[in-house]
Symmetry: C2
């Protein structure tokens, strides 16, 4: 079985170019991977949010550091939405619509990556007003996708 | 109580300069944060490991991408080892020795960060032998710290 599975993966790799779904040993690794990325993003977006809302003092360098990490992480969850990982040994809030509406889901990904890139650019201006202006659209990109593709707990 | 806690945090912030432990709303967020970082590191180190061991084809660009993320992530877990987060609402494998042997724990952190920086430099040479040479010490830094400061499951 292992050899057969390896052949399937090798064949898929040849077809697909990038063996994204071969990068996870099991579905729950993919689930855990995307959950880890999402949690870290939420924490670092939250740190920027605290500055934007005035709950934390504005620290230009910290804003750039947080925004850079968010921008980097925003590229990462998507290969982990592997086919078949709508369920696994650990709970997932990913809706099955993700695997049905692939194009629409991809547009949501691209929106997030675009907005976090803008957030980073805004942070780099070292201007709190710019950061505030870019923060809303980033949060909106998070929320839109969650509203559509994440189950309520 | 909330106000008292806020005052303590504010005072600690003034003393410590950086409000690292104020960045987590609750101990389990700190636990989840470091676990998320560690899991992502393990996944991306694993992808490099697969190339190093010959289980995956060597892809110089992917090696750099993985090593860059590992080097970045290697800086992140440490502020999440907040005092008091040796336990929480979610399980943690962090040993209490972490909070007793702060200097030794810090040396382990620095070792990991140094080795992952070297791994990234090695990856950037686009030479598999260099990557192989740097991979062992990185894995060693992971293992040494885990052997000392992580509970067995």
């Amino acid at each position: 079985m292992k050899t057969a599975a390896s052949l399937v993966i090798a064949a898929a790799t040849l077809v697909m170019g990038t063996p994204v779904w071969a990068q996870f040993a099991k579905p729950e690794d993919a689930i855990k991977y995307r959950q880890s990325v999402m949690f870290l993003m939420s924490q670092h977006v939250g740190r920027i949010g605290a500055m934007v809302s005035g709950k934390a003092p504005y620290d230009a360098q910290a804003a750039v550091d947080n925004a850079a990490l968010v921008a980097e992480l925003s590229k990462r969850p998507w290969p982990a939405f592997v086919a078949g990982s709508d369920k696994g040994a650990i709970p997932t809030r990913a809706k099955t619509e993700i695997w049905v509406e692939q194009q629409k889901f991809k547009e949501n990904q691209e929106k997030l990556m675009a907005e976090t890139a803008k957030l980073l650019e805004a942070a780099k201006t070292n201007n709190l007003d710019n950061l505030k202006a870019a923060f809303g659209p980033t949060g909106g990109a998070c929320k839109n996708c969650h509203d559509t593709y994440r189950k309520d707990v």
